[in-house]
Symmetry: C2
Subunit: 340 residues, 2 copies
Amino acid sequence: MRDVAEHAGVSVRTVSNVVSGYPHVSATTRERVQRSLDELGYRMDFLAKGLRSGRTGFVALAVPFLAEPYFAELAQAVIGAAARRGITVLVESTAGDSEVERKILSGGLTNVADGVLFSALTLPAADVGSAVPDFPLVMLGEHSVGDHLPRVGIDNVAAARTAVAHLLDQGCRRVVALGRNASENGRQRTEGYRQAMAEAKVRRVNWFEVPVDDWTRAEGYAAVAELLEGDGPLPDGVFAFNDALAVGALRALDASGVRVPEDVAVAAIDDIQEAAYTHPPLTSVAPDLDAIAERALDLLEEQGRHKADDDDPAPVPGRQEATPFRLVVRASSQHRPAAG
Amino acid sequence: MRDVAEHAGVSVRTVSNVVSGYPHVSATTRERVQRSLDELGYRMDFLAKGLRSGRTGFVALAVPFLAEPYFAELAQAVIGAAARRGITVLVESTAGDSEVERKILSGGLTNVADGVLFSALTLPAADVGSAVPDFPLVMLGEHSVGDHLPRVGIDNVAAARTAVAHLLDQGCRRVVALGRNASENGRQRTEGYRQAMAEAKVRRVNWFEVPVDDWTRAEGYAAVAELLEGDGPLPDGVFAFNDALAVGALRALDASGVRVPEDVAVAAIDDIQEAAYTHPPLTSVAPDLDAIAERALDLLEEQGRHKADDDDPAPVPGRQEATPFRLVVRASSQHRPAAG
DNA sequence: GTGATCGTTTGCAACGATGCAAGAGCCAGT
DNA sequence: ACTGGCTCTTGCATCGTTGCAAACGATCAC
């Protein structure tokens, strides 16, 4: 920038004014500086700008596994929403490592990012306690830290209830819930399953919850394969807590010759792109990822503004925003067996 | 850091020495500073460090669509490899917008990242010409800019040839190549297909190339659906240029009641995780993503060092690194129809 | 003609860290 | 006792940019 100033015969400050669009710059000067800018191929140094102004224009997004379709699609949505606001996204993958997650929550990304969007899996709740971070932070999806942290995501209980109610509507009598684990997400979707089963007055003997460790295709496959090998009564419906589990379940059912949806109907949550191409296509609850991304960025900006205004106001009440979702019905759940 | 220095009763420079592990610091001082560090919850400012030292510890990864499984898995591999080196990855999604791609190549990410890994789809070859960027850059996969830019990826011709040869080995007589488009990648995989067909002395009448725009499930589905509706002779093998196309193809075949692999064998390239869970599981060529990520980062660091050494040496000859791949055979290609 | 006002431009300091080289204190060797 | 060499510590300048407020010149009203 110094070079540009010299080349244009003005002060560095004036160059800065031109670059940052300061209104009180004469047209002739602006043009001359602009020419020098182009000629010398000037590129702004983000670091210096960030250092001086305290804002970097970056937002960090931390997800457990970027290679999981759901998180990849979420990341894509966040990147798109951020791009519309002129914000760049820094994507971090925690690999479900609670050490990494703890570092992020304790501010490991501060002053490189203006804010952090955090989709936590195994959250080190104990370590975090009720401490409020000293930087803009919005949680995506459920977490177990407490409601003092702002959060954006679908209502998991309602989403699960919707999926299970749909299966019951289709005539299922014995619906298995596949996917309970240690996560808060797992707890809530289990709750939704139970509510739907209770509401439909399904007899307790037909309730069945299959636990897993992770919500992956492999675990879904293994769990259902084991279920089919067992000597218990077979289910006529499977509610998988996410699409990856459902994909694994479908594969296991297919491998065992169980027909979907004739023998077993399947529904899940996430509606990843893959869901439209499974065998058969998968019924799934679709969260509005764009809405999640937009709302999350709104909340981040809001926190950023509050920080700037006062010194330390009540740092934004932990708002819990529920974004819309809808049930996408595909072939995997469309059967109507004879009542029984 | 100033606060810490004051609190510990030393100069800021000494604090810096402790933080950066400078050896000549007495044990007592080090300990005292460390205590103040912890007590005040000091966190290093990456921006200031980067501004002063000229290195940020960031590497940018630009991919067309993060939501595409292949790129998501690639990103995960890069993030993992970078983490092992203490490098943080900044993921950018170009959305196949050549405007964005041009910006990246002209250095839009410089001085925020020490280097750029670029997986280009539609590359604005004309705009770039043979200009060598003034920052460390490594291309991932094929591109059409020319060989003056270093590149890491599998040998696409060989990979395609391997997949097609496998289908022919399985007894296929009429193999369709699905996926030719304007990309360099498409050109090369087409070339591999032709080589394999020629090598096996397949009669020209049985060669068939189906073009698409993008390598997505939707396009794969549409292309195969159209093929099945047509009145031409049906193929007994489909070679899809990537797994997404294959997934779409499998769905279309399934929907039309065509049996895989009995009627049509299918193979593709990428071996995304989803490939193991399709109906039936998909035979695919698996690139070694970890190797790609590691080599790419190696080349970046090498370029970084060269930059540091001299002023402007021949900026690293455009090395073209071919990483290993292997064919993963699954059910989608395992048939042996009667010779015909 | 003179002072007030406005638009435009500028100098200085600062953001938080590190490179450099010099200063302070200590010990051993002569 | 003096010097050289060592370890440990420090001050100063600097990276590229922007906030702040003053300075500058010109126009305007009286």
